[in-house]
Symmetry: C2
Subunit: 114 residues, 2 copies
């Protein structure tokens, strides 16, 4: 009933380069191969998803998501090498911080109502 949730944000100046929503989108694009499918799965409009991808791409030295235009690949999107590395590093931040937070969290739980 009591849970601890982190929301890590990577700020590039005042812009949120990465946060839980953007990273879930990144993961969804990697899995589905399209922005539209990833957006649908997250209950997000295509326009919103496209804007989040655009923001992410602009905050990094190289784009995280590559969009194919025209031809048979039309509508397809894929994570770049940078995108895959950044996704893995964000997930590592989450898992390593969860592990480090656990002892204090267990103590805190003793104070919380059931």
């Amino acid at each position: 009933m009591n849970t601890l949730k982190p929301r890590w944000r990577v700020l590039h100046g005042e812009i949120i380069a990465l946060g839980p929503g953007k990273v879930d989108l990144l993961e969804g694009i990697g899995q589905s191969g399209t922005i539209a499918e990833a957006a649908r799965h997250l209950g997000m409009s295509y326009t919103r998803a496209w804007n989040l991808v655009h923001t992410m791409n602009a905050c990094f030295k190289a784009p995280l998501v590559e969009m194919e235009r025209g031809g048979t690949g039309r509508g397809h999107a894929a994570l770049t090498e940078t995108g895959r590395a950044v996704l893995a590093l964000y997930r590592r931040i989450e898992s390593e911080s969860d592990r480090a937070a656990d002892p204090a969290w267990q103590e805190l739980c003793q104070y919380l109502a059931d």
Copy 2:
């Protein structure tokens, strides 16, 4: 220019028992000895601060903030022993998770634009 910020949330069922705003308020009450002063310092209305205190108190086995009513102590508020312990544990979650996240964060920084 690039920064990593965690926002740890403690959920009691669906209620946010603790988050960055509530914890800053707790700290402010501990320092100033009144809800009004702590709220002002955080740019928050007294009503909002009072509601946040009420929510926090309800999520724990014992209240985190004790309000004195009437007499010379009127308007004063203080952290209880539970309040001080919970505040310290939340700050420990933040600092230990920051430290644990740092290696992956340093790697991620290399991908971010300057």
